[in-house]
C-alpha cells in the first residue's frame, strides 16, 4: 500500500507546482483521518458524472480512504450519469454512492425511496462546519415517499461561478485595467470595441444541456440587479419569471450577449458555440476576445488544460456588482451532492471521511476543487488562483446557489435552458420570460 501511495504522490508532484501541504502529506498520514474503522477488501462503488481529470483526482482522494481503512473504492463516471443512475436505482443495481451534479434529480430519487438518509447528526455537522452551512443542508434535504424531509445530499466539491477570465498579457498590451464595478466593466467593454477588439467570448451550446451557460449569466445578473430575497423568491417562483426584476436581468444579459460588437463571432454565434470552446478565443492567435465569464472549472477547457492559470497566461477577476445598486458582493456557486444509495458500514465510513478536513485538503492540493469546509487549511489549495477563488468565496456578502439547479427539473434543466437558447437566437426577453413562466405554471 505504501509503495502504491508513493507512485500516486509522484504523479501528483508533477501536477502540484505550488507550496502548501502537498497531496502526499495529507494522504500519507492516515492518523490525521481519525478512526474510520477497518474494512479490509470491502468494495464501495461510486457513480458520478465526473470524467477525465476530475475522475483522476476523485480516485486519488479516495485512495487516502483506501489506505486508511483497507476498503476498495470503485468509481465509474459517465456523462450519461443522469440516465444510467435512474435505471440502476430502479432495477435494484444501486452503487453505494451516487454523486448528483444537480439537486433536482437527487430529490426525485429520494421521493422514489432510492436514497438512504444520512441522519440528523450529519446535517447538524454540516450546518456548523460549512461556510453558509444551513444553505448547504437545505440543498441536500429532500422529502421521501411519505413527504418526510431528511438530509440526503452531502455537498462536497464546489464551484464558484462569478468569475471573469482574461489574459493578463492581452490586458497589458492593450493597457486595460481590471474593473471593480459593473459600470467599469461595461465601460471597459465599450473601450475594447472602440479600440477594435472584441470584449467577450460567449458560448451556450452543451449538447442536451444547451443553454445552461446563459442561465448562469442570468443568475449572476439577478444577484447584481435585485436583492438576494428576490432571488430566493425567484427560485421558488413566488416572484414570477416575467416580473420586471427578472426581465431587467435578462435585458442586461442581452446587452452583453446580443451585441454583435461585444461577442466574438457575433451575437448569432452564441447559441452554436460549445461552452468549452468559447474560452479558447482568449488564447487564439490573434486573440478573438479578451474576457470570458465562466465558473471556476473552466481552465480544464483551456487549450493547455489549465496550465495557463499556473504560468500566468490566464487569470480571472470577480464579476463585479453595480456600484449604484449597493447590493454588496454577491457570489454565485454550485456543488456536487454525494448521496448514499446502498447502505454498508464502509460506505458510512466514507461519509465520515468526507467530514475530515484532510479529505478536502487532499483534493484541494490537486486542483479544481473548492470547499466550504471551515476547517480546511486554505494553504492546501494547489494554486494561488484557487486560493484567490477561496478568498472571493469568503469575501462574499451574499452567497447563492445556482438557481437553475434549485428550480424543478422541468424548469431548471428544461425550459430555462431551452428558452435562454431561444433568447440567444433572437427571441425577445418578454416572450422568453413568458414561455418559462407558462412552463412553470404547467407543472404546478
Amino acid at each position: 500500500m505504501k509503495s502504491y501511495l508513493g507512485t500516486a504522490a509522484s504523479v501528483l508532484a508533477a501536477a502540484t507546482l505550488f507550496a502548501g501541504p502537498s497531496f502526499a502529506d495529507v494522504c500519507d498520514t492516515p492518523t490525521k483521518l481519525g478512526d474510520l474503522g477497518k474494512f479490509e477488501g470491502e468494495v464501495i462503488t461510486i457513480m458520478g458524472s465526473m470524467e477525465g481529470k476530475d475522475e483522476e483526482m476523485l480516485t486519488n482522494t479516495a485512495s487516502c480512504f483506501e489506505a486508511a481503512t483497507g476498503a476498495v473504492v470503485k468509481y465509474s463516471g459517465s456523462r450519461d450519469f443522469a440516465a444510467l443512475i435512474v435505471a440502476d436505482l430502479r432495477s435494484n443495481n444501486s452503487p453505494n454512492i451516487a454523486i448528483f451534479p444537480q439537486p433536482g434529480l437527487a430529490g426525485d430519487m429520494a421521493k422514489e425511496g432510492h436514497l438512504v438518509p444520512l441522519g440528523q447528526e450529519s446535517a447538524d455537522w454540516m450546518a456548523e462546519n460549512y461556510g453558509a452551512g444551513p444553505s448547504w443542508v437545505a440543498l441536500g434535504t429532500y422529502a421521501d415517499k411519505d413527504g418526510k424531509e431528511d438530509f440526503y445530499g452531502f455537498a462536497y466539491k464546489m464551484d464558484l461561478k462569478s468569475l471573469v477570465w482574461y489574459s493578463p498579457e492581452q490586458f497589458e498590451d492593450n493597457g486595460y485595467e481590471i474593473p471593480t464595478t459593473m459600470e467599469g466593466l461595461i465601460a471597459l467593454s465599450d473601450q475594447m470595441v472602440e479600440d477594435g477588439n472584441t470584449p467577450w467570448c460567449i458560448g451556450v451550446e452543451s449538447g442536451n444541456a444547451t443553454g445552461w451557460t446563459a442561465t448562469d449569466w442570468m443568475e449572476d445578473l439577478m444577484l447584481r440587479t435585485t436583492t438576494p430575497e428576490n432571488y430566493d423568491r425567484w427560485v421558488s417562483n413566488d416572484l414570477p419569471f416575467n416580473s420586471p426584476e427578472v426581465l431587467k436581468a435578462m435585458e442586461v444579459y442581452g446587452q452583453f450577449s446580443r451585441n454583435d460588437d461585444y461577442v466574438a463571432g457575433g451575437a448569432s454565434s452564441v447559441a452554436t458555440t460549445f461552452f468549452g470552446d468559447a474560452p479558447k478565443g482568449l488564447f487564439s492567435s490573434p486573440a478573438s476576445c479578451l474576457m470570458h465569464r465562466q465558473a471556476s472549472f473552466i481552465p480544464a477547457f483551456f487549450p493547455n488544460k489549465g496550465e495557463e492559470v499556473a504560468n500566468g497566461e490566464a487569470d480571472f477577476f470577480y464579476f463585479p456588482p453595480y456600484e449604484a445598486a449597493d447590493l454588496g458582493n454577491p457570489v454565485l456557486g454550485a456543488g456536487t451532492l454525494w448521496t448514499m444509495t446502498k447502505d454498508s458500514p464502509a460506505t458510512r465510513a466514507f461519509f465520515e471521511y468526507m467530514k475530515e478536513a484532510s479529505a478536502h485538503e487532499a483534493w484541494m492540493a490537486q486542483g479544481t476543487f473548492l470547499t466550504a469546509h471551515k476547517g480546511a487549511d486554505l494553504s492546501a489549495y494547489a494554486t494561488p488562483a484557487l486560493r484567490k477563488q477561496g478568498e472571493i468565496l469568503s469575501n462574499a456578502t451574499t452567497f447563492r446557489f445556482d438557481a437553475s439547479d434549485l428550480m424543478p427539473g422541468a424548469i431548471g434543466a428544461g425550459a430555462f435552458w431551452s428558452e435562454m437558447t431561444a433568447f440567444a437566437n433572437g427571441q425577445d426577453a418578454k416572450t422568453t420570460a413568458d414561455n418559462i413562466q407558462s412552463a412553470w405554471d404547467a407543472i404546478k
Binding site: 456523462r79 430502479r90 432495477s91 487564439s284
Partner: protein, 407 residues
Amino acid sequence: MTRTFRNVVLALIVVIWVLPFIALVTTSLRSETASKTSGFWTAFTPTELGHRFGTHDKGKTEPFVTMSGNIFERLNHDRESYEVAGDVTSILFKGRLPDPDKPGKTKLIRKLIFAGEVMDVRGGEFVFQSSGDFTWTFPEATAPKPKNLDAFINQSPVFGTDAYIEVLFENKNVPNALISSFIVTIPATIIPITIAAFAAYAFAWMRFPGRDWLFVIVVSLMVVPTQLAFLPVLQGFSGIASWATSLNAWMTDCEITKTCQVASKSFASLWVTHTAFGLPLAIYLLRNYIVGLPKELLESARIDGASHLKIFTRLIIPLSVPALASFSIFQFLWVWNDLIVALYIGPADAADLVFPIRLQKQLGTFKDQLHLLNASAVISMIVPVIVFLSMQRYFVRGLLAGSVKGG
C-alpha cells in the same frame, strides 16, 4: 455517352462515401492545434495560420543591445513533433504608443507588420525576415521582459502519428477497450448463431405441433426494441446476481459484503442480452435459408438412416455456410458498434469498458480531444473492415438467402 455519365455518377458517389473516412484519417494525423483551428482539407497545402511566440524565455535577464533569434526555433523549442515550418508573412502588432494627435496620451495600435519592416517593441527595434530570423536592437544594453507576438505563418503541411502513439501506448485505454470488445463480441456472435442454427433446422424440417405459430412469435419479436427492455432485463440480472451471491456465500463460506459479491453487470450479462436480442433475426434468416435447401437431399439422407443430429451436422451446416457467415457479420458489427446496451448492462470498471464507450468517454472528457478520438476511431474501424472483407464473398449470397427461396 451514357456510360461516361454512369461512371461520373458512380465516381461521385464513391467520393461522397469515402470523404468522411479521408477526413477522419487526415485529422487523426494532424496536430491538436491544427485540427482545432482549420479544416482537414487545408492539411495538404501550405496554409496561413496564426502562431504565438515569445521573444525569449522568462527569467532570462542578461542585458543586451541586439538579440537575434528565429521565430521557428522559438515556436518549435518545446515541441516534440508537428514542427512548424514555412514562411512568416506578417506579425500582428498590438500595443500602446504615444498618440501623435493628443500629446501625453497613448493610443492602441493594431497593425500588420510585414517582413523587413521595423517595429517598435518595448522601446527596441524589432525586424524579422520571412525565414523567421529576427533581430531586436536597443539603443543601449537592456534586459526587456519577453514579448509574445502573433505571427502569421504560411505553414507547410505537417503530419505525425502522435495521436496513435498516445492512444495505443501511452494510456492503455484503447488496447484495453479492444480486448474488452473482443471478449464481448466473439461469444455474443457465436452463441446466438449456434442456438439459431438448431432452432432454424427445427422450424424448417421437424414437425411438431404449433410450429408455425411459434415461428410467427419468434419473427414478431424482431420488432421489440432493446431500449424498451433495459429496466426488466437489469432487474432480472440483479435478481440472478443476488441469488448467485448467496449461492456463492453458501458454498464458499465468504462474507456477503466482501469477496463473494457477484456483479449483476458483467460481460456475461452482455452475452445473454446480445444473444437474446440477436436470436429472432438469426432464426428467421437461417430458417428461410435452410427451408430452401433441396428436399430430395434430406429425404435421401433420412432413407439412408441418418438421424436429425447427423443430418444437421453433416448436411445442413456445410450447406448453410453463406447464411451463417452473413449473419455472423451482421451480429458482429452490431455488437461491435453497440454503445447503449454496453452502457446500461455492461461492466462499469474503467478497464472493462468496450470500444464505443471508450470512444464516447474520449470525446466526453473535454469534448475537444478530436485528434485522439479520431485516432481511436480509425483503430476501431479496422476490426469490422477486416471481418467484412474476409467474409464478404458469403455476404451477398447470404443476403439473398431468404429472398429467392423456392419452397
